[in-house]
Amino acid sequence: MAFGRLKEILLSDLNIDAESTDKLMENLYAEFPMLSHLKLRIAVNQKIISGNTKLESNDIVALMPPYSGG
């Protein structure tokens, strides 16, 4: 799932096979070089993660650019 300006870069939610969040991001950076300019927070199944996290099939990964609510 992508939010904020990431929606404009990725265009839609994607189904990607990756064994971990680091591998997932490696794939995404290769495909969408613009992503590397953004400071992203990553959530796996609605939990924000701080380091590399193992992924199971059907896990939902959310990529979130800096928040700007309020």
């Binding site: 928040y67 700007s68 309020g70």
Partner: protein, 146 residues
């Protein structure tokens, strides 16, 4: 797990709803102080283009869970009678209200400090994004100033 309260509405926050929210507290006579924060859409001018509206989107499930956590922290830290929070999603035009935070307590200090802390935490910790729409319908993604 505590009940997750809704905070989002798909429109600007009307001054009438704010007045009604204040009125609903008239029966709670243990309250001695209310503190209210209202966020209003500002018409910034950026490179000669004027912001006419902000379109808000959110990761709603995560935002509501995070808000429940913030609510618990705030109630543990301050002696509050109640706290109400409303945040707009969708398009909100310049001059309209997009955030309403309302804290009430017996004495003013708790309501004042809690309100200000909640506003800061909302801006820092809730996954909400604002897209600033200019008068020529181009846009840029808002960044929060602290």
């Amino acid at each position: 797990m505590n009940k997750v309260k809704k905070i989002f509405q798909n429109s600007a926050i009307s001054p009438r709803s704010i007045a009604e929210s204040i009125a609903r507290h008239a029966s709670k006579t243990d309250i001695g102080a209310h503190q209210i924060f209202l966020g209003q859409i500002r018409s910034d001018v950026i490179e000669n283009k004027k912001v006419k509206a902000i379109e808000y989107t959110a990761y709603e499930d995560l935002a509501l869970n995070k808000m429940t956590e913030i609510r618990e922290d705030i109630f543990a830290k301050y002696q509050l009678t109640c706290m109400h929070i409303y945040h707009s999603l969708g398009v909100v035009h310049a001059g309209e209200i997009c955030l309403f935070v309302f804290t009430s307590s017996k004495h003013r200090n708790d309501a004042t400090l809690a309100c200000s802390e909640v506003v800061e935490r909302i801006k820092n910790e809730l996954p909400i994004w604002g897209r600033e729409i200019f008068e020529d319908d181009t846009h840029q993604w808002k960044t929060n100033v602290f």
